[in-house]
Amino acid sequence: MLIAVLSGFMLAAVAPWLTRSLGDKAGWVLALLPALLFAYFLSWMPAVMHGDAVVVHYPWIPGLDINLSFLVDGLSLLFAVLISGIGTFIIIYAGGYLHGDEYLPRFFAIMFSFMAAMLGVVLSDNLITLFVFWELTSITSYLLIGYHHENKEARWCALQGLVVTVGGGLALLAGLIMLGNAAGSFELSEILGSGEILREYPLYTAMVVLILLGTFTKSAQVPFHFWLPNAMAAPTPVSAFLHSATMVKAGVYLMARLNPGLGGTDLWLYTLGIFGALTMFTGSFMALRSTGVKAVLAYTTVMALGTLTMLIGIGTEEAIIAAMTFLLAHALYKAALFMLAGALDHETGTKDILKMGGLRRLMPITFLTACVAALSLAGLPPLFGFIGKELMFEATVTAPALALFTAGLALISAIMIVAMAAVFALRPFLGDLKETPKKPHEAPLSMLIGPVILAALSLIFGLAGFLPAAALVNGAVASVYGTPLDVQLYLWHGFNLPLMLSVVAVIAGIVLFVKWDRVLELFARMPFIDRLGPERGYERIMDALVWVAEWQTRVLQNGYMRNYLITIVMTTVVATAWTFFVHTGQGVPLGEIDFRIYELVVVGLVVAGAIVASVTRSRLGAVATLGLVGFGIAMIYVFFSAADVGTTQIMVETLTVILLVLVLFRLPGFQNLSDTSSRLRDAAVAASLGGLMTILILAVNAVEVAEPISDRLVHWSVPEGFGRNIVNVILVDFRALDTLGEIFVVGLAAIGIYAMINLRAEDKGK
């Protein structure tokens, strides 16, 4: 199982190389992997078809409790079979569609990564693993959508998809973490059994809302639906894969997956029911307005996603059976239709339905396959789509709530979908042959094999409903509903309300198809519809983000060292002062201050020197007064009988003056570049640091100190260190490592300065 999930990533790593060496046959050969996976997943079918679930654990790092665990049950298997099965055809198709494309090798690499990530999503048992794969699908699909990178619009669309789904992903993560905490486990197989606990969880509402934000964005539910049609910018094989079995279905998968745990509440029912139904309506309405082959299909996907969400929300036996059947039916016909759309676009060179016509003679197989698949989309017998639609109508009319609302919207949507199915299947092929940018002829085998087989399956499944029922739908329904149900799928359900609705939808749909050109004219006169979309909101938010980013750069990181220094000094002052006052309470305990007059004189000189150095206008004056400060400090050392340190300080001061004199005359003259207020500010910052340090030293001085180590050092110095000068014994013996380190510091400083001077001279010499 682990290999099955990860094999896609492995193949992705070598796919570019394989593609180059295999040449024309690359698509066919590479498709072997998904085909093998498909066979592998089919072999699991007997184990789970009666609603059983198998959990496969792989210890990743024993002892760390990091495991990769996979959950195989009816639902995950249905998805896995769809992903690998449709994936096989997509890979073959891509080999033909993108034939000769310079970037084909890379395309395959991303495609296989994407497929593997999608398999990971539907097979993961662990929530965190699931989330990781979930985000991987976002990222890889971003790369796939933005495949035509020279196209600015494609890049923008890809980014939009990424931002929306990744943003939703963040919400999802928060929701999943709450879910894990509520259930006390991060394994789905354990969580799903604790529905009672989950529904009683105090934060249930927040948890559901967060998870749904993730699934709604991923599955393009209103009001996040706008990114999906824009994602059509992807090459057609990608669209076919994204829309039929993968990506957008991930959200649906997760809602279905969590239904036994989270479902069955009013919140779940109303949220999913209302948003799903609205999405269904919006999708079909937008489809009606579109004239691009891919746009029509993309909006019907939005419709299907809405339908599925709505059905999961309703959550009755009928609804769940309908959802799983509809899911399977949609996957089959949508993949076929997209591939056909690609064939049309590939052969004619245009995507606009209005610019095509009369292709039936030139592309007969395409025409026939399109008719079959479109019939399934429209929900006409004897296709599998008909069974799905019948069940859907039945589920809406028997819904425990919202029955009128959902059934009404379902009927209106169905009418529009029938019309658009007809538009798609008939308009390009009937009528007179129209002039198109490319000379059309039948598409190659690699581009037809997929649609033909998938369309044939739509037909076979429709005629023999027991096949999918037993093999796939039964197990999936058991997983989603929580208990096994006996699923029977037939074309003929007897005369009932759903059949009536279907008949109405078909008749009205055909009328709408005939009047479609009039409808388009009508819409053309109502441009304001475009302005109502939530896409505006997205754009506003993106603009605001850019603005914030620029603002912070202006304020925080403006490149002036003085501002950086103020930042670090003030941060230090605040942190230290805060610690200090937390520990001292109100009063500051000051130590006894005991001083002599000559000490006061030296200190006064040091302070005066520092002040003069910072206000003087003469460089030489500054050097001299700094020297005064240094010598004063040396005097203080001497007062406290640290003769060695004092002498060193004097020597260092001498050398400092020498060095300063050497560089002084190379510098430009002093100039006053800052105004009074900023100088006052700087003075305040400096004073705050100095003042804080003073208070600290006084306060620290007041604290009792442990037995000074100097006593011990004195004690050890002569007998063990053979020296009477304690400072020197410490430097060369007790703590020789420090001294060694410091002379390396001195050496490195010399090397650094030397390098700076010499390299600079060298650079200038060039």
């Binding site: 933005g146 963040l170 990181q557 060292m561 420090d738 380190g741 390396f744």
Partner: protein, 481 residues
């Protein structure tokens, strides 16, 4: 014999660096090779010795603390030395070609780099607060001239800024050390703890000074402003060392002090504040990385962000957070070095590293770009990489302690990382070239591409080798949390 290994680990690179320096213009071509191999060898020896027999202590000059200084190789120090050996060794291979061995600049590079290597090892091994200050200074003063090797005209501002920040940080740290010394009468890490804990205000102020000083050194938000220019401007090999090892040394010290001498002072609010700084670094650094127009600056800002993850240890302070933070240090080290070396190759080939103009590099620089992508996987924290293991451990720690807000930060950081890594890859890999890229340099030879690739593969391999490494690291030091 094993008690000598810590000494060798410090002094082999030091002495090699001194010899290189003295040789000056009369560079011996094979000396850097010999020195690097020897350093890697003794580092590995130390690793195996500690793994087999536990920690090693060496009292310098035979003086036991509090009189003398101890070198102490425990689990944490050893994994950091191992990281330094791996990154340092491979960067040395890269530098053999990139910097050569024959001219004065090359001589400077090798002398400084070998001494920096020794300084880092000394910093990891030192068990004495003041000696740590000395090693911090060594690291800084060896690192800054290395930045200048990219050309003083371009980097002098960045280098001086780096120096100013580093000195400010060192001074603060030193102030804290001085207070501690007054309080405890000792500087040994193992001995000063109780005195600091009972030290009332002095202890607290000492701790604050040391921690803030190290935060400045570690370029933690909001002290990060010096880092991007310095790391982005340095030669590629140097950037790799700075980002992978040098800033991490300061974070290492924060971990070391927090779980050692300062353990008794750790206060919930302060810990949360540290975590908040880390979180701010992650979000801010990542967003900035996404906005950068130059490849090396993208990678440099990524360092600002990635260092933030290690700070998330402080608020959680449980065993998994400890393991996660250190493991993040390791995997970020190798991955970031790979990124910088790959970026360096781009710069060599194109003569610029403007992200928008990286078109059509896939043919000529496929190996380097592959390395960039693979290392990016670990930076994003995707499985199966070391970055993933680290984030997983931190994530679990955040859930275990009920501090779910850090989990949100962790994930957001991963997503933002994906954004900036993919932005680069998109331009480099996927953009159709309008015309062949206008190059100014040769295609970097394999010896420059391979180290990046190996480092990137190591970042992935870390996803499978967590068990022995975490066993070597050992659990969270007692008394923390």
């Amino acid at each position: 014999m094993t008690e000598w290994v810590p000494v060798l680990v410090v002094f082999v690179p030091f002495l090699a660096g001194v010899v290189q320096f003295m040789a000056g213009r009369r560079v011996i071509a094979w000396w850097p090779v010999l020195a690097s191999v020897a350093t890697v060898a003794v580092s590995l020896w130390l690793t195996f010795a500690v793994a087999a027999g536990g920690g090693i202590e060496h009292f310098m000059g035979g003086w036991q603390p509090p009189l003398g200084i101890a070198l102490r190789a425990d689990g944490l120090a050893t994994v950091m030395i191992l990281l330094t050996a791996v990154v340092g060794g491979l960067v040395s291979v890269y530098a053999l070609e990139a910097h050569g061995t024959g001219d004065p600049r090359a001589s400077h590079f090798w002398a400084l780099w070998l001494m920096l290597w020794g300084s880092l090892n000394a910093l990891f091994l030192s068990a004495d607060l003041f000696n740590i200050y000395v090693t911090l200074e060594l690291v800084t003063l060896a690192a800054i001239p290395l930045v200048l090797l990219a050309g003083p005209e371009k980097t002098v501002t960045a280098a001086l800024r780096y120096l100013q920040f580093a000195l400010f940080g060192s001074l603060l740290y030193l102030a804290g050390v001085a207070l501690t010394y007054g309080l405890a009468g000792s500087l040994d890490l193992a001995l000063v703890g109780p005195a600091l804990t009972d030290g009332g205000i002095t202890g607290a102020v000492a701790a604050t000074c040391m921690v803030v000083g190290l935060l400045v050194k570690a370029a933690v938000f909001p002290f990060h402003v010096w880092l991007p220019a310095a790391h982005g401007g340095a030669p590629a090999a140097v950037s790799a060392i700075l980002s992978a090892l040098v800033v991490k040394a300061a974070v290492y010290l924060l971990l070391r002090l927090w779980t050692g001498p300062l353990a008794g002072l750790a206060d919930g609010l302060v810990a949360q504040l540290m975590g908040a700084l880390g979180a701010a670094a992650i979000l801010y650094g990542s967003i900035q990385a996404f906005r950068q127009e130059r490849l090396k600056l993208v990678v440099a800002y990524s360092t600002v962000a990635q260092l933030g993850y290690m700070l998330l240890f402080f608020p959680m302070a449980v065993a998994q957070a400890w393991e996660g933070a250190v493991y993040h240090g390791l995997s970020h080290g190798v991955a970031k070095a790979a990124l910088f070396l790959a970026a360096g190759n781009v710069l060599v080939y194109l003569g610029h590293d403007r992200v928008r103009d990286l078109k059509g590099l896939d043919r000529s620089l496929s190996v380097s770009l592959l390395a960039f992508g693979i290392a990016g996987v670990s930076i994003m924290g995707l499985p199966p990489s070391g970055g993933f293991i680290a984030k997983w451990l931190l994530l679990r720690a955040s859930l275990e302690t009920g501090q779910w807000w850090w989990a949100v930060v962790l994930i957001s950081g991963g997503l933002l990382a994906a954004a900036y890594i993919f932005r680069v890859l998109r331009y480099a890999f996927l953009q159709a070239p309008d015309r062949p890229p206008a190059t100014t340099g040769p295609i970097p030879p394999p010896i420059m591409a391979l180290p990046a690739t190996l480092l990137a593969l190591l970042a992935i391999a870390l996803g499978f080798t967590a068990a022995p490494l975490l066993a070597l690291l050992g659990g969270l030091p007692e008394g923390t949390g």
